[in-house]
């Protein structure tokens, strides 16, 4: 039996609660990991030698830094996953919703 759709009144967008900030222990751990990578950048023990050569042509002073760059990308992926400041986006979008552009 076909039913007649009942008219509905538009409902306001539900206000999504602001997401939580990342925990302090997570932030501390990530800061430590970041500081470790910065410290490893200063590989003074590799200063005067090209050995060991990676793939037979990449001097250690280069491939070590390339490795750090790859680790930087991995660290950023972890930061995005576990410490994303979603609360900032929620606050900004809520502000925009309340005060849209003319």
């Amino acid at each position: 039996v076909p039913t007649t759709p009942t008219p509905t009144t538009p409902t306001p967008d539900p206000v999504r609660p602001t997401r939580r900030r990342p925990g302090r222990s997570i932030v501390a751990l990530l800061t430590l990991a970041f500081a470790l990578l910065l410290a490893l950048r200063h590989d003074y023990w590799n200063w005067d030698t090209p050995r060991p050569l990676l793939f037979g042509f990449l001097p250690v002073g280069l491939w070590w830094q390339v490795l750090l760059t790859l680790l930087a990308s991995a660290l950023m992926a972890i930061m995005v996953r576990v410490a994303w400041p979603a609360h900032l986006e929620d606050q900004a979008l809520e502000a925009e919703r309340r005060h849209p552009d003319p």
């Binding site: 090209p50 990308s73 930061m79 995005v80 979603a86 606050q91 925009e96 552009d101």
Partner: protein
């Protein structure tokens, strides 16, 4: 000439993209300056990368590697790969949120609102503009050098610079942020894809990296390893203090107005997610090949000969058809050619004197065939004065003309990052001066946009004229580091205090700003008033405190202490100290203002006003 034609075709393409963006514009100020805060993730990542990769990233990095070796990657690239994404994550997301909440488009607007400041903001604007202009000049210089390089000297530097300046000015003028972002995204694709192809082709051309690297390594066994080619495979030529001090330089990235303003263009904060993850990989793809190629180029006599032939000194010598210079002295190269036992060398000199060798490209081809050790050594010295041309010389020698043109266009894509700086400066002018002092309210939004466009034109013309005047005085890398990078890195504590320290005040910001201005002025004075005439790589003390050397003069820069740190170290430390001490000694902004920027959990929207 084919490579130059390909580059011209590429320039026409970016011009078309920029003008196409103009047709999508709404005519509103927010659309012109921040693309209506509507950029998606892919355009955001690619455009941000292109914005931050300038001629310095590919011409400067390979050129410095030709001089210093593989350590250049650790010097700037790996540090940037760590610090810039972290800064985007921590500072960039906050800038985006504040821009979205309160409608700000520049850093100074945020400072003015956060610290209740007026004219102090104008002082910060002036400093930012002053430091960004050299960056724009570098773009014009790189454009001129690139076109000159890919055309083998047929398109002179002044004409190449003029063409690039005109193209950039046109699409920024019409397309605003949307045009600039689209062009930048195209440029990123261009230099990542074509650059990778170039790397493979050049690697094959030199017979693989393995034999070259092992031959260079063997020279380390000689009596003076630092001066051997093998030293380029290590960091022997980089003072450890200098290396350490480069850690501060990437902090400048988020303080560059074009990067900070770009953070405001994303549609959603989610656009930052992929950007911070993939940014280090983009740096790796661009920098590692550039550094490796710059390093091994020193073992390619033909490449070194081409670099020597396109150096300013040799160009002038060629223009006057050999003979004594303005001071009556003969070029050492001429003397060596005349005295060489190789008949080809003497024949070459005769042809230069007869005017039969008109272009640097032809001279380079002829010099590449000479196998006289003193001539080779002299060519290497001349090449070092033209280090930024190494990538172009490699392309010229190893690539077929069509590919060399595409690769030249890819380098041009890096060089043309000056578009973002020009747009940023016009945005700052429009928002921080024109609008702040009431002209937009009085004359309307259209007048605001046209004032920004007029600013673009004036700025580009000034940058071009300066690029012509300073071309022969310093390399791209040195100018950028000494002025723009050090200055912006030292402004980082101001931004950090603004976003994270409730107790910070406008007076602290002013004190730090004045400190940076003083340091930059002092550096400029010391650069102009002193010279270094000792052996290469040495230094003369300028200012001592007892036995401790505070500042010393090197060949192209002033350094801090005997560890030869960059001046960014005392500049940054002073900025932190003054921001902290003066803030504590002065009255903070009103509690309501602080509450808007530091909402307690759950009440972030209580006092939001936008506009």
């Amino acid at each position: 000439l084919l490579p130059a034609l390909v580059v011209f075709a590429y320039l026409a393409l970016v011009l078309y993209v920029g003008i196409f963006a103009f047709r999508r514009s709404t005519g509103r100020a927010e659309d012109f300056f921040v693309a209506n805060r509507s950029l998606g993730t892919a355009v955001f990542l690619l455009s941000l990368f292109a914005t931050n990769m300038t001629s310095f990233s590919i011409l400067g990095s390979s050129g410095l590697s030709f001089r210093l070796g593989i350590g250049v990657f650790g010097l700037m690239a790996s540090t940037s790969a760590l610090i810039l994404p972290a800064a985007l994550f921590i500072i960039g997301t906050r800038l985006w949120a504040i821009g979205k909440k309160y409608g700000h488009m520049t850093q100074v607007q945020i400072f003015r609102d956060r610290w209740e400041m007026g004219h102090i903001g104008t002082v910060i604007f002036a400093l930012q503009a002053l430091m960004l202009i050299p960056y724009v000049i570098i773009g014009v210089m790189g454009g001129g050098e690139t076109l000159e390089g890919v055309s083998g000297g047929r398109v002179p530097y002044w004409l190449g610079g003029a063409v690039v300046a005109l193209v950039v000015m046109s699409y920024v003028f019409f397309g605003g942020m949307r045009g600039t972002a689209w062009v930048n995204a195209l440029q990123s694709c261009m230099f990542l894809v074509v650059g990778t192809i170039a790397f493979v082709i050049i690697a094959r051309g030199i017979g693989g990296f393995g034999p070259t690297v092992r031959a260079m390594e063997a020279t380390l066994a000689g009596p003076r390893p630092v001066q051997s080619d093998g030293a380029l495979l290590t960091r022997m030529r980089i003072p450890p203090g200098l290396y350490a001090s480069y850690l501060l330089i990437p902090l400048s990235s988020i303080m560059f107005p074009h990067i900070a303003i770009f953070c405001l263009t994303a549609r959603r904060m989610g656009s930052f997610r992929k950007t911070v993850i993939f940014y280090p990989l983009c740096i790796l793809i661009l920098w590692a090949p550039a550094v490796l190629l710059g390093t091994v180029a020193t073992r390619q006599p033909a490449v070194v000969a081409k670099m020597a032939a396109t150096s300013d000194t040799v160009q002038q010598w060629l223009d006057r058809k050999a003979g004594p210079g303005p001071k009556g002295d003969f070029l050492r190269l001429e003397t060596l050619l005349a005295d060489s036992a190789d008949p080809a060398a003497r024949a070459l000199l005769a042809d230069v004197r007869a005017g039969a060798v008109a272009y640097a490209h032809d001279l380079g081809e002829r010099m590449a065939t000479l196998d006289d050790p003193p001539l080779r050594a002299e060519m290497r010295q001349l090449a070092l004065t033209n280090q930024d041309s190494v990538m172009l010389a490699l392309l010229d020698h190893f690539s077929p003309p069509l590919l060399a043109g595409l690769l030249g266009a890819a380098i041009m894509a890096c060089v043309m990052a000056s578009d973002s700086q020009i747009l940023a400066l016009s945005t700052m002018w429009s928002q921080d001066v024109f609008t702040y002092y009431g002209h937009t309210e009085r004359l309307g939004e259209r007048a605001q946009i046209w004032s920004a466009r007029a600013f673009v034109v004036v700025l580009t013309i000034v940058a071009y004229l300066v690029a012509l005047a300073v071309h022969q005085y310093a390399t791209i890398f040195e100018i950028a580091v000494q002025y723009a990078f050090a200055g912006y890195a030292s402004l980082f504590p101001v931004m950090a205090a603004c976003l994270f320290w409730r107790r910070s005040t406008k007076w602290g910001a002013l004190a730090a700003t004045l400190w940076i201005i003083t340091c930059l002025a002092g550096n400029t004075w010391a650069q102009l008033a002193t010279t270094y005439a000792g052996p290469p790589g040495g230094a003369t003390p300028l200012l001592k405190l007892g036995d401790l050397t505070l500042f010393q003069r090197e060949g192209t820069r002033i350094t801090f202490t005997e560890w030869r740190m960059l001046l960014v170290v005392p500049m940054f430390a002073g900025s932190v100290l003054l921001m902290w001490a003066v803030s504590l000694a002065t009255r903070p902004p009103a509690a309501a203002t602080i509450a808007r920027y530091f909402p307690s959990r759950g009440d972030g929207q209580a006092t939001v006003t936008r506009g």
